[in-house]
Symmetry: C2
Subunit: 185 residues, 2 copies
Amino acid sequence: MNTKLLIIDIATTLFQQKGYLGVGLNEILKACNISKGSLYHHFPKGKEELLIACLQSMNEEVTTDIEEIFKQYQTTQEATQAMIGKLVEDFEREDTIAGYTFSSIVSEMASLSEPVRNACSLLYTKIQGIYSNKLVAEGFSKETANSIALMITASIEGGLMLCLTQKSSNPLKIISHVLPNLFKE
Amino acid sequence: MNTKLLIIDIATTLFQQKGYLGVGLNEILKACNISKGSLYHHFPKGKEELLIACLQSMNEEVTTDIEEIFKQYQTTQEATQAMIGKLVEDFEREDTIAGYTFSSIVSEMASLSEPVRNACSLLYTKIQGIYSNKLVAEGFSKETANSIALMITASIEGGLMLCLTQKSSNPLKIISHVLPNLFKE
DNA sequence: GTCTATATAAAGATAGAC
DNA sequence: GTCTATCTTTATATAGAC
């Protein structure tokens, strides 16, 4: 089995759930059942290099997952609601942040590391691009589409914060219910 | 001068900007110009006790600040936009999270500490209550008012994440521009 | 490529003088 | 109530055997 991919896979989940600073290397090693030497062989520059690899890996997964959903549904509204539905399921099953969200990483690292901030920025841009493109295809102007796409992204990220504090998926459900109001112009 | 209040004041800002794990006690001590012994005299249970004191302090400030704004403006829409305008100003001046937002703390601590999660939950509830009350006064049903209030909170928190990654206040500006669409029913 | 053992720095916390 | 000095644990990272 490919150790490097294993590390990225497991570390990605841990970083999403607990943030960058909240996860120690030892915790990652234990979860992967590997040793320190092995990890530093694959990521010589250490933890931050691993984080960036995780963010890039998420970038690819986002393409797969969200674009898949957005192809399945005719309207952006339906697709968005289906997507949030999946996040709700994830949250109810795992009780932590999951899916393609990564606020914990952003809030900790954006001001500490330029490379990390950049990787996060790219990821958000990509996600919003998917929303925006479909909205343009539906007839919205490019500017309006971008605004709505941004609002979808922001409210989902913020919604997950509220889910965490309330230990409930309710906030995301409400957001899913309210978002369609943005599509009427 | 009251040392305890000084500590809370400075630590609150640091926690907001860098998160709980991102700020070391030494950094707080240095910023306050005090020693370890002094801090532990005021907060015997240590860092987490200090964080909770900070969240409670924010709780009081929120009442002052947001309610003040919400009294100044007739409609929720105007008040919300004024409030976001202030956040934008803060962000452009300081280039970090400020105001009454605290996503960094939530995402790190919600799953680690029940008391902290609870304090955060109370804070969000209070903020949303202010929004919701004004919306009800404007004629919205209680349920609709709560939904819109939640959406305002979530999109602002998420918007600040986007501002951080983009190093720009633009996301919040766009959100301020798009939010009014939620008020039409 | 993976391991063990070690280095080094920093974290949070405590003890006791003043 | 504030200080200095110290303790303990944990963090990231490195060295070198296999």
